[in-house]
Structure formats: structure tokens, C-alpha cells
């Protein structure tokens, strides 16, 4: 597992029904591209987050494929329409098979 990985997200606590809210997510990750070499000239193996998803009450909001050109500590900001109270679930998939998850509740009304 990559070191120092820490997901963080910001979701408003409350929203009106059908309101479009802004969600911000950031995960600290080195995002080693696999293109760099160490001091001895050996290639440093690729180690990135390759996929990010957000689901709301089981329904997919966003599903992102991430490539090696994405920089360290990937930050995503996107909007979602909230029809009802529920929970946003965020998932990041690491090259090494690790899955990092976090979730945030939101209350409508």
C-alpha cells in the first residue's frame, strides 16, 4: 500500500430537494508516473490511483479513469443533483489493489 494516502472530501451537510451541490475531493497520493528514474537509472515503478468513483445511495454520480499524467494529490471538483437525503460514497482504486473509501451524509429539507 502506498504511503501517506489520505482521502478527504467536502460535501454540504444540507441541501434543498433537487438542488445542485458542489463536491470537492482530494486524495494525498504520490502518483508515481512510471516514467521517472531513480539515482541509479532504474525506472521507478508506476504507482497511481487509476480510478475514482462517487455514488449516491447506490447510484453512480461520477466514474473517472485516471492516467499517469495526473499530478500528485489528485483533486476533483464536480456537481451533483440531490433528490433526497442520503449518503455520498467515494472510492479511489490504487494500482497496487488498495481501495480507499470514505462517505459523507447529506440531509435534504
Amino acid at each position: 500500500m502506498a504511503k501517506g494516502v489520505k482521502p478527504r472530501v467536502r460535501v454540504p451537510k444540507k441541501a434543498a430537494a433537487g438542488e445542485i451541490i458542489t463536491i470537492k475531493t482530494l486524495i494525498s497520493h504520490t502518483m508515481e508516473s512510471g516514467q521517472r528514474k531513480d539515482a541509479d537509472g532504474n525506472i521507478i515503478p508506476r504507482s497511481i490511483i487509476n480510478r475514482f468513483t462517487c455514488d449516491f445511495n447506490g447510484q453512480n454520480v461520477i466514474d473517472v479513469t485516471i492516467e499517469p499524467a495526473v499530478s500528485t494529490n489528485p483533486f476533483f471538483e464536480f456537481e451533483a443533483k440531490v433528490p433526497e437525503s442520503g449518503e455520498f460514497k467515494f472510492t479511489w482504486y490504487d494500482d497496487d489493489g488498495s481501495v480507499y473509501e470514505t462517505s459523507k451524509p447529506i440531509t435534504v429539507g
Binding site: G4, R8, S28
Partner: protein, 276 residues
Amino acid sequence: MRVSIAILAMALGATGAYSGEDASLTLEDGQSLTIRTDAPPHTENLSEITSGWVYRSDETQALQLDDFDNPAFVFVDQGIDLYAAVDGSEGKACASCHENVEDFAGLRASMPKVVDGELVTMENLVNNCRTERMGAEPWKWSGGQMTAMTALIGLQSRGMPVNVAIDGDAAPFWEAGKELYYTRVGQLDMACSNCHEDNYGNMIRADHLSQGQINGFPTYRLKNAKLNSSHGRFKGCMSNIRATPFAEGGDEFKALELYLASRGNGLSVETPSVRN
């Protein structure tokens, strides 16, 4: 001549480097920071002191307004982990003695200061605790662990006015710092004052010169995507004028840090700020 000045003013305005004449900025959580105020009396050649935030582009300024957007907070979080991490032969963490990091509120605003005849900076305090009380190895002055810790401790004082003492025991160190500030060095034969006092607001290559205030250090720089110590920044400036930099943590830079901090007396602590 008047026409050309007007055009220049418009060109400067168009870059968005000066966001009006507001004396303060407001963070997303409602906290207000002083970015413009009257210069302290010992800063003879300036009438107004301004935070480096003022000279940055709109996008860079916006990054600092929201702690979620501010990339420095990734490192502050690392600092929180380090604060609780046991290290060294005594089996202690920072938190073993200093239970709440919030208790350091106000410390950053008064640093560096003189203790028992010696000028000490935040880095000195941290490393002193590590070697004397924890039995741990000292951290590198501008290393990732040190800047994460000084950012975490500095953050507790955010919003408080910088107020370093320059009289009494501190006077000789302050004088030494002032001497350095106005001494021309390097192949380009420039002093700190030539850029940061005589030409702040003007362009240096593709960028605006600031007053060189250090109220926001350690600061996240977009150019290297990490936290930078003030001494690291001094080194960068000295290299730019083709001078041989003093050592980080040395007497010269500590004196300069005291002098520069005193020039910002009255500005808010902005730690951790976002700059180019």
C-alpha cells in the same frame, strides 16, 4: 508621459495582481486576515506594508481563501500525524508534553525571539524538543517533516498580528538583520531592499515583486508543490542574485528572519499561505 503611465496602470490592473485596496481578506470559514496596514515605525522607508498575497494572480489568491483548496493543508495533516507520532529514545511524541496543539496559538506571531541571549526560531524550538526531551534525531531545517510541523504550529496563530520584539535582548540581532537587508551581495550586487523595498509591485521577469513579507511562512509554492521555509526562500533569493547563500538555520538567516518579521509587524499571520 502621462498617457504612458495610464496605459501602464491599465496593464497592471488587467493582470489582476492587485485586488482592490481592501485592507483584509476573508477566508471561507469567515476568518479575516489583515493584508494591508500602516508600516511599523522602525520600517522607515515604507509607509504601508502589504502581504505577498496581494501581488499574486486571482487564481493563486483564491487557493488560499479556502482551506480545502489550499494545497498546504495536505502537509498540515501530515504535521498532525507527526505531532502524535512517538519518536526517539524517550518514547515520547510532541503530544506527550504539549497535549493540545491549539495551545501554541500566538507563538508564531512572536517568532523569532531571544531566549537566554540566543535568537531562536520555530525550527530551533522543534528540534530542541526533539533532541533534548524526546531523544530523537533533529529534523532538517527545510525538510518535509519540519515544514509540516512549523505549518501546523503556525496555523494556530493564523489571523493574529505579527508582533516580534526588536528591543532589549533582540536589538543586536535585529541590527545585524537590518545590516544584511541593506547590504549588496553577489555578482548582481543587489541587496534585499533593491527588489523588495524599492521595486515591490513592479515586474521581475514574468512576476510581480512583493515586499518580501514572511508572515505566511512556511508557504506552499506552486513552483515546487511543497511547503517552503523562510530560510529556503532566502537561499533562493540569494542564488538569484548570484550570491553564495548563507546556511539555513545559521546566524545570518536567523537575524534576517527577525528583521523581516519585524517589517511585517501588524500584518496577520497567514501560515500556511499559497504563493508562486
